[in-house]
């Protein structure tokens, strides 16, 4: 229903954070994304669920140009993602990403991980960058580890640092690509708590996750993908109580015991 509203001719709508229109993508002969349409409003929290290989990671990786789409249009904060490097970098400055395997830089301290991009990409001076980093490290409750190296922290701590690192660029949108899938079970909670608090602050978030509790708690919409298509899109309460599609039903019965 929301995607119908999105058909308005004006390409730059300041209330729209992400707009995906008829996007398709192939890996060789294999089609990973098939006519994806999705509109995300500013401040909206979207959870993307679906079996592995359904294209959900590929879809959010297209949103900051880590993957290129071959058909259709993607606009992020009004900037269209194309082959143009400048445009890709414009988008990347405004879109933070949190990866499954954290991807922290092991040769840099926690603080340096957080100040690197603000200093080198946004030309912030060191004092300014360290101030911002301290603020966000405090926010993810890890400020006391600022001078350690990533390898000295637990997985959950590393993932919280990765979230802080993304926040230091003051992004307008945050993408999460299975942020808790590589964590030991006892560390999932601390990362989810951090994500919940971000959601409460009004951050626009797109989360690929299997954490259905998180989806219930914070998502405005759940997107269910299978075979490279969005096959169901609903509020979490409706999606969990009353899934429409057979494949969604099968998926939910497998994931919720």
């Amino acid at each position: 229903m929301l995607s119908l509203v999105a058909q308005s001719p004006s390409p730059v709508d300041t209330n729209v954070a992400v707009s995906i229109r008829d996007v398709s993508k192939w890996f060789g002969a294999f089609q990973v994304l098939e006519n994806i349409n999705l509109e995300v409003r500013v401040g909206e929290r979207i959870v993307i669920a679906g079996p592995s290989g359904s294209g959900k990671s590929t879809m959010i990786r297209c949103l900051n140009g880590l993957e290129r789409h071959q058909k259709g249009k993607i606009l992020v904060n009004g900037t269209e993602l194309s082959e143009n490097r400048k445009k890709i970098d414009t988008v990347r400055k405004e879109v933070g990403m949190v990866f499954q395997h954290f991807n922290l830089f092991p040769h840099l301290t926690i603080l340096e991980n957080c100040t690197l991009a603000p200093m080198w990409v946004k030309n912030a001076d060191r004092r300014q960058a360290e101030g911002i980093a301290a603020y966000f490290l405090e926010k993810v409750r890890i400020a006391d580890q600022a001078h350690k190296y990533p390898g000295q922290l637990s997985g959950g701590q590393q993932q919280r640092v990765a979230i802080a690192r993304a926040l230091c660029m003051k992004p307008k949108v945050l993408l999460f690509d299975e942020p808790t899938s590589a964590l030991d079970p006892e560390m999932v909670r601390e990362v989810l708590d951090t994500m919940v608090s971000l959601a409460k602050d009004g951050m626009t978030m797109l989360c690929v996750t299997h954490e259905m509790g998180f989806a219930r708690q914070v998502a405005d919409r759940v997107i269910f993908m299978d075979g490279g298509q969005i096959i169901e899109e609903n509020t979490p309460s409706e999606f969990f109580a009353n899934p429409q599609h057979e494949r969604a039903k099968a998926f939910l019965s497998q994931i919720i015991h």
Partner: protein, 218 residues
């Protein structure tokens, strides 16, 4: 011995200096060429990839002396009269490029794709990505291996005497034909190689200890 050194020391020293020049010069050129080859080795362009791979395997799996002799013969066939020292330098460059290519390729592979994606997601461009993220993680891997290569080159370069390049071993042969002091001359030459290789190793140790110069902004 003192007679030997006072009368022929200059010849030996000149050979020693040429060995240092040939090895460092050849290694420097080879490293640049090797870096290009390494990029081709990881490239998705099938033909370029195959060409680079063939080059590396050809050089790494044949004796250096044979390569040097072939190179001299090749210039001969082409009727190019080049200074033997220059041909020696080219031979070392060709040889070290193949090994450097493998070393750098291994270093590149040791930095995971996640690191590159982490950098890209933060809008860090290709140049800064290499300087800030890849290089500092690559060098601790590449540096010790290339020092080993440099030490090997110091020793392998002795084969260039076989194609009359006036380096250290060749100067030894020259002195022996004039003095017939076979054992003494080779002992001096051997000692000079030892000094050279140990100096390379010592310099590398100091460089490795202080890798912090690699970390941006420290």
């Amino acid at each position: 011995m003192i007679d030997l050194l006072s009368n022929y020391g200059v010849i030996i020293l000149r050979g020693f200096l040429w060995t240092i020049i040939l090895v460092t010069g050849g290694f420097a050129i080879g490293s640049v060429f090797g870096a290009v080859l390494a990029i081709l080795l990881v490239s998705k362009q099938k033909l370029l990839n195959w060409l680079a791979r063939s080059y590396v395997e050809l050089i790494r799996n044949t004796p250096f002396l044979i390569q040097a002799m072939l190179l001299f013969a090749l210039f001969g066939i082409m009727r190019m009269r080049l200074e033997p020292l220059l041909v020696g330098l080219i031979a070392i460059a060709i040889y070290s490029a193949a090994y450097m290519a493998e070393i750098i390729r291994g270093g590149l592979a040791s930095v995971s794709d996640g690191q590159r994606e982490g950098a890209r997601a933060l809008a860090i461009g290709p140049f800064l990505e290499f300087r800030l993220i890849i290089l500092p993680q690559l060098l601790p891997f590449v540096l010790p291996a290339s020092v080993n290569l440099l030490a090997t080159l110091c020793k392998e370069s002795a084969f260039l005497a076989g194609v009359s390049v006036a380096e250290l071993t060749f100067s030894g042969q020259v002195v022996i034909t004039q003095t017939f002091l076979v054992f003494e001359v080779w002992a001096v030459i051997g000692a000079l190689y030892l000094v050279l290789v140990l100096s390379v190793m010592a310099a590398a140790k100091r460089l490795e200890k202080k890798m912090t110069w690699l970390i941006p902004g420290r």
